[in-house]
Amino acid sequence: MKRTLFILTMLALTLASCGNAPSIGSITPPFIDPGIDPESWALIPAGAFPYGQHDHITEVDHDYEMMVTPVTNEQYARFLNEALAASVISVGEVEVEAGEQVWVEVGAHGFYPGDPYDGYKHEEEIKLGDKLYFPTEADGARVTFDGQTFRAIHEYSNHPVTMVTWFGANAYCEYFGWRLPSEIEWEKAARGTELVAERGHGLPFPWGTHIEGNNANYYSSFDLFEKMFGKLGNTTPVGFFNGNVYDGYETLDSASPYGLYDMAGNVWQWTGDDYPKQHYRHMRGGSFYSYEVDLRVWKFNSAGPQHYSPQVGFRCAR
């Protein structure tokens, strides 16, 4: 009996030591400036590169540019304010459709012309109409709306914007005359053209063949923010993993061969392709909540274009 009591007590103590973790929205980190300009772009020249896990040599027939970092909260708040002033978007209730579900959300919304529909089994129809871009009342948003103006929470202003639907990401890029990168464009920008790794594979990570905790922000990578807030994952400022030392925490310079940051970890990034007969939009890169295997450059996630999440952001191409 005594032994059983002892075991139960030890078990209870172990469980109690876990405690409750705070929610993402309840945490405010200190402002950190990694010194990477989120307005900068990188040129990716035309040419072939090893695409996907099995390194299919794929030709990209055009030069293009991609943003060096994901779009930040600051940049997205600026867009929302400009678009609101120009009456391109509205703020208020909007109907959201996903699968067989329809519900109402409050947030910034605007027009989308819809996707071609083939009536395929399990195909979700994306109709033309007003679509949610950014929910203003959902937990986890780092851009606030006071009824007039959108503002990025200061400490998060240079973190990647999250809680943006694909419609909202697409609208941002199109508003400035840009576009979301295709999956092929995204992957080429992430891994470059070389077959450098063992057995002739392309790079699995933007910076090389192996991943360390201070290469990127991923689940249990023990980055500075995990050290601050425990195991709870959180976004890091864009371009954080650039070789700088922050408060004794040393990062590795983890830019891709073309100088892009955050191409692995931090936030999943929406890509632009609309795949016929399904219309799921693919995301690349993995997030602060992904295991390291999902940070490999060919891994993807997908969701309907109405999806938003504290671990999904985007960057544009042109």
Binding site: L15, P22, H54, E100, E124, A138, H201, H307
Partner: protein
């Protein structure tokens, strides 16, 4: 020298010894390769394992490595089930020896060279030997199927047998084993054909990565069918084995065995026809319903027997007395309970997903759907493993408090882990991403504690068995002596029967 010879004979010439070796192999493989993922990565154990063992882990080859790892574990578990079957079902002594011998060489070759190829370098000799090992396992399957042939005169049941039989006397339980064995061979062939195409350009993938692709190639569908049906058949195998263990008979067995035979054929046909048929899933649903009904009959019978035996001395047993009798022996209660529990963590989840696919699951991101898929089949594999452990613990003669502790630890802790994984995979039903961290931490903790405790129980059990092997008159010696006696008696009976048969022929000829 005699010391080694005796132990070698026990470990490689007796059912208990062979099973012990196979469980040790799975345990070692799990212990080493389990350090390469999950929390072990977070704790830095992966790096230590990789460095210490000199593994070569190329990122692009991770999926291929995992597939080979699954195959090596599956081969070993298949071997364990085969050992049980060759001991439980009447067959000729030489058939038992040759089946066990072939599958042992086969799975050990597959495990050693498969893992060497996957984790230490792409030496194609290793890959070739991996294929040789798998081929031997397949060949052992053919031999087993031949040995199980239910149409043989000597395996027919008498009219007054309490076990289910056809009008002509066919043993329908043996028929179920036989059909399961054939289904395994056909399904393995399906995998082998697609696997051999791998050498001709087929690219490695994990099944769960293909979901949401509107078009899948026939090869991809074949592999998805193969992996599903192989695991299902392993589950069917252990269900039949534990049925035999409790001497499943009477009216419930009469209903269960035909259902099982039809279910095996239906589910296998459905899983493999996924390649060609749009509506293959309907066949699978029907087939698996038959199998699940058969398993339900087993559970009712096993639990009813436990209650009856446990309350035999009581005139009118009350509810609590019945419950006490049911829960008295965790090793006998456990297999049935794990099958019931499976409905909440595997079948229930699968059915719920199928019904609410577009309404709920396809609204979630791909990663969430993927977690459910990988979670539910890991749980099914885990449940099969716990049932095997309970049966083997009983074979090993665990008694008294140790039996109670081992049995209840395996049942309760595995169920805590599996329930936590199920809730984790379904978390989006009741918590948003922004609010999930706390619940995720708790669920992960329960999962880790549950699995860790089961592994500790297993480790203690294996250490005891290892220690016992060094004893001159250990438990192993008794086991081996008992098996030798039973085998000798069976051999003698067989020789007598053969002698009578030969005498009859001589008599007939001399007329």
């Amino acid at each position: 020298m005699q010391f080694l010879k005796n132990r070698f004979d026990y470990l490689f010439r007796s059912t208990r010894g062979l099973t012990l070796v196979a469980i040790a192999v799975v345990s070692i493989v799990t212990a080493i390769f389990g350090t390469l993922s999950g929390p072990m990565v977070e704790w830095g154990i992966k790096d230590i394992t990789v460095r210490l063992l000199g593994m070569k882990l190329v990122e692009a080859e991770r999926e291929g490595r995992i597939i080979m790892l699954y195959h090596t574990i599956a081969m070993t578990v298949t071997a364990i089930e085969v050992y049980f079957i060759t001991e439980m079902l009447p067959m000729k002594r030489h058939e038992q020896s040759i089946v066990n011998g072939t599958i042992t060489v086969g799975y050990l070759t597959a495990v050693v060279f498969g893992l060497l190829f996957a984790y230490w370098g792409h030496n194609f000799t290793f890959h070739g030997l991996f294929l040789v090992g798998q081929s031997l396992v397949f060949f052992a399957g053919i031999l087993l199927t031949m040995a199980l042939n239910p149409w043989r005169k000597e395996y027919r049941l008498e009219k007054d047998s309490p076990y289910v039989r056809s009008k002509g006397g066919l043993d329908l339980e043996r028929m179920a084993f036989f059909v399961m064995s054939i289904a395994m061979l056909v399904s393995a062939t399906f995998g082998a054909v697609t696997g051999s195409f791998w050498g001709n350009g087929h690219e490695t993938f994990l099944g769960e990565d293909l979901i949401r692709m509107p078009h899948k190639t026939e090869l991809q569908k074949a592999i998805i069918g193969h992996l599903h049906i192989m695991l299902t058949l392993l589950a069917v195998g252990i269900t039949l084995i534990v049925g035999r263990w409790v001497k499943f008979k009477g009216i419930l067995q009469k209903i269960a065995m035909p259902l099982m035979v039809i279910g095996i054929i239906g589910t296998t046909a459905g899983a493999l026809s996924v390649v060609w048929l749009e509506w293959a899933h309907t066949i699978i649903y029907v087939g698996s319903t038959f199998i699940m009904l058969a398993a339900l009959m087993y559970v009712i019978y096993a639990w009813d027997t436990l209650i009856k035996e446990g309350t035999a001395g009581i005139k009118k047993p009350g509810f609590f007395q019945k419950m006490g009798a049911l829960l008295k022996d965790p090793l006998k209660f456990g297999p049935g309970w794990q099958m019931v529990f499976m409905n909440f963590t595997v079948s229930g989840v699968g059915i719920f997903m199928a019904v609410k696919l577009t309404e709920i699951f396809r609204v979630w991101p791909h990663r969430e759907e993927r977690i459910i898929l990988t979670g539910h089949w890991h749980i099914l594999s885990g449940l099969i493993a716990t049932i095997i452990l309970m049966y083997f613990a009983d074979l090993s003669g665990l008694k008294g408090k140790i039996r109670q502790w081992f049995g209840w630890l395996v049942i309760i802790m595995s169920d805590i882990a599996f329930a936590s994984v199920t809730v984790f995979s379904m978390k989006r039903l009741f918590v948003t991403e922004a609010e999930q961290q706390s619940i995720v931490n708790w669920l992960m903790l329960f999962t880790d504690i549950g699995l860790a405790m089961v592994l500790v129980a297993l480790a203690v059990f294996m250490i005891w068995r290892l220690y016992d092997l060094f004893q001159k008159k250990g438990h192993w010696a008794n086991e081996y002596a008992t098996e030798r006696r039973i085998n000798a008696e069976a051999e003698l009976a067989e020789q007598k029967r053969k002698l009578e048969e030969l005498n009859a022929i001589l008599k007939e000829v001399s007329k």
